[in-house]
């Protein structure tokens, strides 16, 4: 086992988490879970940002994470509001049933 953890370890971890998030988005039909998966993906990206900030000794990575978190918060708020609104009309949050605007 290598004696110290370096940036590559974080890349690996981040990829795994990201992939899990991707799978969540693609496989689950529950819109809420779907959102959670998105959060997970954002989170894995954040992790990488911070890891690189540490690796390179620059603060910018952390600042970006800050923005990402802000956007994520906004996204969740809006997304969940959407889900609630959809649930009101369709009585379901199954993502596959939301195809009203199918072209």
């Amino acid at each position: 086992m290598p004696s110290a953890v370096n940036i590559n370890w974080y890349i690996a971890l981040s990829s795994i988490l990201f992939t899990i998030g991707v799978l969540g988005v693609l496989l689950r039909r529950n819109a809420i879970i779907l959102f959670m998966s998105v959060e997970l993906m954002l989170n894995s990206a954040n992790l990488l940002f911070v890891a690189f900030a540490r690796h390179l000794g620059q603060l910018d990575g952390q600042v970006l994470v800050f923005f990402v978190i802000t956007v994520a918060a906004a996204e969740v708020a809006v997304g969940l509001a959407l889900i609630v609104a959809i649930f009101r009309t369709k009585k379901s949050i199954n993502i596959d049933e939301i195809n009203l605007l199918k072209g």
Binding site: V22, V25, L26, I95, D96, I98, N99, L101, K102, G103
Partner: protein, 739 residues
């Protein structure tokens, strides 16, 4: 060969008994009531007898090995190196402890055997014997412990057993629906705990003074510091040794008044008669209640140092004198109270309190041997009397039972009020129960102090000592002795003489041999117990032996003085112990006999043929003596202090803690402050500031969303997949192709 290393056996045997009985006894008895009872009963008895035999062998070993105290260490108990606090589980085998062991296990064995008969048929038979063995175990720890703290284990342990056994029939309610037995047990335990308060504090003081709680180290340290006039310093205090020891001895006295039922804590003992009669005999007459006397005798060095130094409590009275006065007054008042009792066991209970007063008075005035002597003889005759009363009660119950079965019920409509322990329903039992009568008579006369029974010799020694050194106490004790003879006569007449005052008494039957045999043995001990410490019959004889014990004279003194360090120290001139005269004083013996006979005669004159019926009032009921005999201490506690405490406790709990502190302060004051703050920020800040902005922005976004919505088509998932595909594609492109 010595048998000292057998000493732990006296503790192990009762434990075996109690474990076996506690775990399996109930099953035995339920499986086969007759054999089960025999098995559990005899198992417990045999363990006690075994302990007795071991004590006997310890006795012989001590005889053979020059009486020197032996410490038998078991293992260490509390050991705090950084505080220099070390207490070991260790037994001290010396003449004093062996004396107590012999009394406890000897009388204990007899009472165990008796109880097999007495408790026959009780559903909780095995529980009873478990407790008895537990009691023997703790009592033996008490007397054999080599330090105050180990002694205290036994001290509290016997208190526990007393609690358990007094409330043995805890399911019973009395006529008023009060759980009298359970209450009595609780009262005993709490009263004892008040005494323990003193013992705990005394032990702590001893530790900080001497750095140890071992008897031998404490006593030798005390003498050393006393001789060197050391100051005691701890916790910012610095006081002379006698001051500390005054506090210690006074606190021990508090413990003694609790355990040995002296004024002001004696009130639990009469109530303790709610327990089964063998318990009254064993715990509340012969052994446990004498623990206080044992503590006084054990601590003789401390008391004698205080006496020698002349230290007093607030300049009023020195603690040994206080002890003597407490004992004497208890002896007097308890004897007086015994006049007015109608319950056969209550008379004996107050008599016990009174006799314990004699012992305490003796110990307080420095007559340690006399105190122990009286302790031993009292154990014999009082156990005899209690077991005898048990036999009487058993007989009365038998008679009552007989009536119910024989259909005599119609003529005895007052049976609801019948109480097999009430002497007013008895009378003329000497014909129905001859063996019981004879042994009871022997016990009673010994109690009254009739020569040559055991009680005479021991009481005489106490009186002689106080006549020599403390006349006021002598006078009080002498009056108490007169009173003793009087209530003895009253009891004998009411129980055994005259005509039966109730059909149950007419049909009472003698108890089985299992019960009477121990009675006969105890009667024998009562008759010959005086030989234990027979004084020289004349002054000349005493002087011929240089006032020292020899031959058959003063055996107990020659035996005990090896444990009483103050004797030796007195001879060295370090302590001023008043030595009891060693010869029979004709003056004191004469007075004592005259008082005993006079008291009996007086009793005979007053109660001859009385009462005639069970409802006739007592002949003394309208005299001042009767009024005096109701010492209002118990009422003060039960009607004054206890309700006050209850009310205070409820007030504190409901009003102060709950209504005020919990509900008002926390749920009103603190919460209101919080809620007010929260409402301000919610209504004022939030509603007007934030909401306005939000509403405006909402409208804009609504319009925007209308436009954006048009771009959405189909399944979300498809799009997501497309995005991913694109992302992965880009990734691969950049890595492998663009590079």
């Amino acid at each position: 060969m010595n048998t000292f290393n057998l000493a732990p056996l006296i503790l192990i045997l009762p434990v075996i008994g109690l474990l076996l009985n506690g775990l399996f006894g109930r099953r035995f008895v339920e499986a086969n009531p007759a054999n089960g009872e025999r098995l559990t009963g005899w198992l417990a008895s045999l363990m006690t007898i075994g302990a007795f035999l071991v004590s006997l062998s310890l006795f012989l070993s001590l005889l053979a090995h020059g009486f020197e105290p032996i410490i038998v260490p078991l293992f260490n108990w509390i050991d705090i190196p950084s505080a220099d606090f070390l207490v070991n589980w260790a037994m001290q085998v010396d003449t004093l402890s062996v004396t107590m062991m012999l009394v406890v296990t000897g009388v204990g064995s007899l009472i165990h055997i008796y109880a097999i008969g007495y408790m026959h048929g009780d559903p909780d038979f095995s529980r009873f014997f478990t407790y008895l063995n537990l009691f023997i175990f703790f009592m033996l720890i008490l007397v054999s412990g080599s330090s105050y703290l180990v002694m205290f284990v036994g001290w509290e342990g016997v208190g526990l057993c007393s609690y358990l056994l007094i409330s043995f029939w805890w399911a019973r309610l009395d006529k008023n629906g009060v759980p009298a037995n359970a209450n009595a047990g609780r009262k005993a335990m709490i009263m004892n705990r008040i005494g323990d308060f003193g013992v705990i504090l005394a032990m702590i003081l001893l530790f900080w003074t001497f750095g140890t709680l071992d008897y031998q180290a404490v006593f030798s340290g005390a003498v050393e510091m006393f001789e060197a006039n050391h100051m005691v310093a701890f916790g910012g205090l610095s006081v002379p040794l006698p001051t500390v020891l005054t506090a210690v001895t006074a606190l021990f006295l508090l413990g003694v008044t609790g355990k040995s039922a002296q004024i002001p804590l004696y009130t639990w003992l009469p109530d303790a008669m709610a327990g089964p009669t063998p318990v009254s005999a064993l715990i509340h007459a012969a052994t446990m209640v004498t623990a206080g006397v044992y503590l006084l005798v054990r601590s003789n060095v401390l008391y004698e140092i205080v006496r020698t130094s002349g230290a007093t409590i607030l300049g009023l009275i020195s603690t040994p004198n206080l002890v003597a006065w407490v004992g004497a007054l208890t002896a007097f008042f308890a004897a007086l109270i015994a006049f007015s009792q109608n319950d056969i066991k209550k008379v004996l209970a107050y008599s016990t309190v009174s006799q314990l007063g004699f012992m305490v008075a003796a110990a307080g005035s420095g007559a340690y041997v006399a105190a122990m002597f009286h302790l031993v003889t009292h154990a014999f005759f009082k156990a005899l009397l209690f077991l005898g009363s048990g036999s009487v009660i058993h007989g009365m119950e038998h008679g009552h039972h007989h009536l119910a079965h024989a259909g005599h019920g119609a003529t005895h409509t007052d049976d609801d009020g019948f109480d097999p322990q009430d002497m007013r329903y008895m009378g003329g039992l000497r014909r129905r129960m001859p063996t019981t009568f004879i042994v009871y008579l022997i016990g009673s006369l010994a109690l009254a102090g009739i020569i040559p029974l055991a009680g005479f010799w021991s009481k005489d020694e106490i009186l002689l000592h106080d006549q020599t050194y403390a006349t006021p106490i002598f006078i009080v004790l002498a009056i108490a002795a007169l009173g003793t003879a009087f209530y003895v006569a009253r009891q004998l007449i009411m129980v055994f003489f005259g005509k039966p005052r109730h059909a149950a008494a007419e049909h009472a039957a003698e108890s089985p041999a299992l019960m009477t045999t121990p009675l006969v043995v105890l009667a024998g001990l009562t008759v010959f117990g005086g030989l234990l410490n027979l004084p020289y019959l004349t002054r000349a004889m005493a002087e011929a032996n240089h006032n020292h014990p020899a031959g058959i004279f003063l055996m107990l003194e020659s035996w005990l003085e090896h444990s009483l360090a103050s004797f030796e120290l007195a001879e060295e001139g370090i302590l001023a112990l008043p030595r009891t005269p060693v010869y029979l004083s004709l003056l004191v013996a004469g007075i004592s006999t005259a008082l005993a006979v006079g008291g009996l005669l007086l009793g005979y004159l007053v109660y001859r043929g009385r009462p005639r019926t069970s409802s006739e009032p007592d002949r003394l009921a309208r005299t001042p003596i009767w009024w005096w005999s109701v010492l209002p201490l118990n009422s003060l506690y039960m009607k004054g202090f206890v309700p006050l405490f209850n009310r205070f406790s409820v007030w504190l709990a409901d009003k102060v803690d709950w209504a005020f502190w919990h509900d008002f302060v926390h749920d009103r004051v603190i919460r209101d402050i919080f809620v007010t703050g929260a409402e301000f920020s919610a209504n004022v800040l939030d509603a007007q500031g934030v909401d306005g902005v939000v509403n405006g922005a909402g409208k804009t976004t609504q319009r925007l969303a209308r436009g954006l919505r048009l771009t959405q088509t189909g399944y979300a998932r498809t799009y997501a997949l497309a995005v991913l595909l694109g992302a992965v594609g880009l990734l691969v492109y950049f890595l492998f192709m663009a590079g």
